[in-house]
Symmetry: C3
Subunit: 309 residues, 3 copies
């Protein structure tokens, strides 16, 4: 039984270095099994409940595929309107009930703290698949796994993060993990969407080298990895500001050609305009491989916290 057996996965902060290392190595083993088309029965007879109080096709399907690849089965609430919450039930009651049906629960909820509240109510382990402005730890884990695979290492890398760094829970979880491996970081954001100062200063206290600018071209010239996030129109009071700014943050082949040779380009998806479709055929364009990596990472988490691995 592993150190993670019986644990909830609520945030990246709670995951120790040893646990992270176990998750990454377990994921690598499962990925090999997937590639070899091996039939696994690690979770046969076990049930995952996916409770999505906010829709997220990608994350839900990725968790469900992970459970099924392990030989397990799934029960699902994909649409909040069909849930008991619509009848006035508390989140704790909903989760406690579902914990009576399943062996592990994945929850997505629009409110920060909802995953922790669910974990307190549940007799079975809970995984946070995004709680509003809170955390999305499995995305950060698959990002780290992707970087390790693409670059062959995690130590000594320079990573640029570009886009809306203020509101993106994904990048907040990710920089926390990157800091553990001594990454140098460039934060490139439009005015008003910069990385929150408390995160920047926390990183600096950990002796992470951080630079902040709005010059994407300069950042990519010296980066091993470029992590792109979406800038949402709704974040701007004046739509004209959005229109004027967004083109400075579009990643296209012209930019890639001026970047450090072999740069890896990542994106949590869905993308809208922020990476040109022409970049997809660039061999360092890793975002679809990154999405696919969600399956082995989530297989590892499901197996580890249920004590099956």
């Amino acid at each position: 039984m592993s150190a993670l057996s019986g644990k909830d996965i609520l945030s990246t902060e709670q995951i120790s270095d040893d646990e992270l290392s176990l998750i990454l190595s377990t994921a690598a083993r499962y990925e090999k099994a997937l590639t070899a088309k091996m039939r696994l029965d690690v979770m046969t007879g076990q049930i995952l409940a996916t409770l999505f109080f906010e829709p997220s096709t990608r994350t839900r399907l990725s968790f469900e595929a992970a459970m099924e690849r392990l030989g397990g089965q799934v029960i699902s609430v994909a649409d909040p309107k069909t849930s008991s919450a619509a009848k006035g039930e508390s989140l704790a009651d909903s989760v406690r009930t579902v914990a009576g049906y399943a062996d592990v629960i994945v929850i997505r909820h629009p409110q920060q703290g909802a995953a922790a509240e669910s974990a307190r109510a549940s007799d079975v382990p809970v995984i946070n698949a995004g709680d509003g402005a809170g955390q999305h730890p499995t995305q950060a884990l698959l990002d780290i796994y992707t970087i390790q695979k693409e670059k062959g290492r995690l130590k000594g890398l320079t990573v640029s993060l570009v886009g809306d760094l203020k509101n993106g829970r994904t990048v907040h979880s990710l920089v926390h993990l990157l800091a553990r491996f001594g990454a140098r970081m460039h934060f490139v954001a439009p005015p008003g969407l910069e990385m929150p100062p408390q995160i920047v200063s926390a990183l600096r206290e950990q002796r992470v080298t951080v630079t902040e600018s709005s010059d994407l071209a300069a950042a990519v010239r010296e980066s091993d990895v470029l992590y792109v996030t979406r800038i949402q129109r709704e974040r701007f009071e004046d739509p004209a500001d959005y229109e004027r700014l967004k083109s400075s943050y579009v990643v296209d082949m012209a930019l890639v050609q001026r970047a450090k040779s072999g740069i890896t380009i990542m994106h949590p998806l869905p993308r809208v305009d922020e990476i040109a479709v022409g970049v997809d055929s660039y061999e360092g364009a890793a975002y679809f491989r990154q999405a696919a990596n969600g399956v082995p990472i989530r297989m590892a988490l499901l197996a580890l916290i249920t004590g099956r691995k």
Copy 2:
């Protein structure tokens, strides 16, 4: 092959004493298997179709978990808006088609009689998971199963039922089953929401001792089981009546302390305000165990009517 093989489960009235006994003992056996984390393959290769023309997360997930715990698989319509009914298809046609895909069908429908109509159209067994003001037999079965587990017996019990006893299909099905075991019953309802007189007189004809009052405290002093249901605001013409009345029917620890020692508290869930959260830690608070009992009861029904058990 059991006596239930090939049968539909439409109402509690249709279930004979022998069949009830078989259902309860089969559920107990499956519950042991669940506790022992045994892998079952009773329904391997079989398909359950859950057709929910009205959303009910709890009931749907409970049936789907039951099927999956038996090794079977599920196809599902969770949202009426995505169903063929939206294209003008009759219920009979929808069910007859799905009967060509599955080995057993569970249906939830807002109209009374819909389950019986479905059963007539279907070549495979149909389970009624609630048809409007009609029946919800699997809820009553899991209630009886819970009482037996919690109290160690079904005979000679005194049961108080409180809340909206007029509109609750669950309590109507339940009192019918309780009567078979000679329970004494207290009905405690606000004015206008009393148990329908024809049900009370039918019970008295069966020599069941029934008392009716609006005094919850008096009822619980001499009850082995308290079964709480929700009082819906919409049932009152004047909202002020609801506000005035509802507090008299809230179960809190003050009430529990004045109740018969060891009283078991049940609720079909979801609850809103009618049981205080403080009661949850009382050891006789059985409502979440009751919800979990839905799985072994539904496993028993699925296996018995498909002739696999």
Copy 3:
């Protein structure tokens, strides 16, 4: 490994005579296995993703049942509102991502060409389950399979197709397949909803005998098969035209009694009024058997294109 291994199923035109013959014989074998209640594990450990950007209960459940009958598992987007498309993601990106989770994809989309676009984006085989005014090849395949089963042969038949022949993608795919077997065809449609002239002339170039009329009674007198489709009120500018016309195209027992003896009646379902319920008990009424045939046909396709069969 079969000739179909790795192929997409986008249209009936792409399917060669040999492939068609392989699909039909594989389906027949699976149907026997289903009848014998055999447990199959052809697709154990494999995942089907059903992506329905437009709801279609029947088609979705039929594919999911097919996958599960083969021992495989399913991940599903049943409701377009919960999909990533709602966040502005392109269809190609959505499909490419899901291709990283699954072994085969079934897609239904309101836009013509969406299935072909999906196939280009996907690393795994894609099946078109209807793309707007485009194709619905698996419906045509199950129709052909049904005719073969009901009549014992495919050659030398006379088939009447009645209803909205202009807009029905199903009948367009079907006549193309029927033509390969030298069927004689009667097209019976209300004014304005006739079979498109280019399809009629293409059939005549293939030396298919085609007659066109609005006289249903005359057509059925000399037909082995009557294929009925729905006439939608929305197709008529003047609702009075619809009301006046629709009764001439209703199939009832009076019509059946004037038809060729043993005529087989088919319908892709859902039906609304176009076949009277009284016809359901006529032994040549094949439409529910036809729907059930969707399962073995789709089992055959899933197994063949993933190279498992």
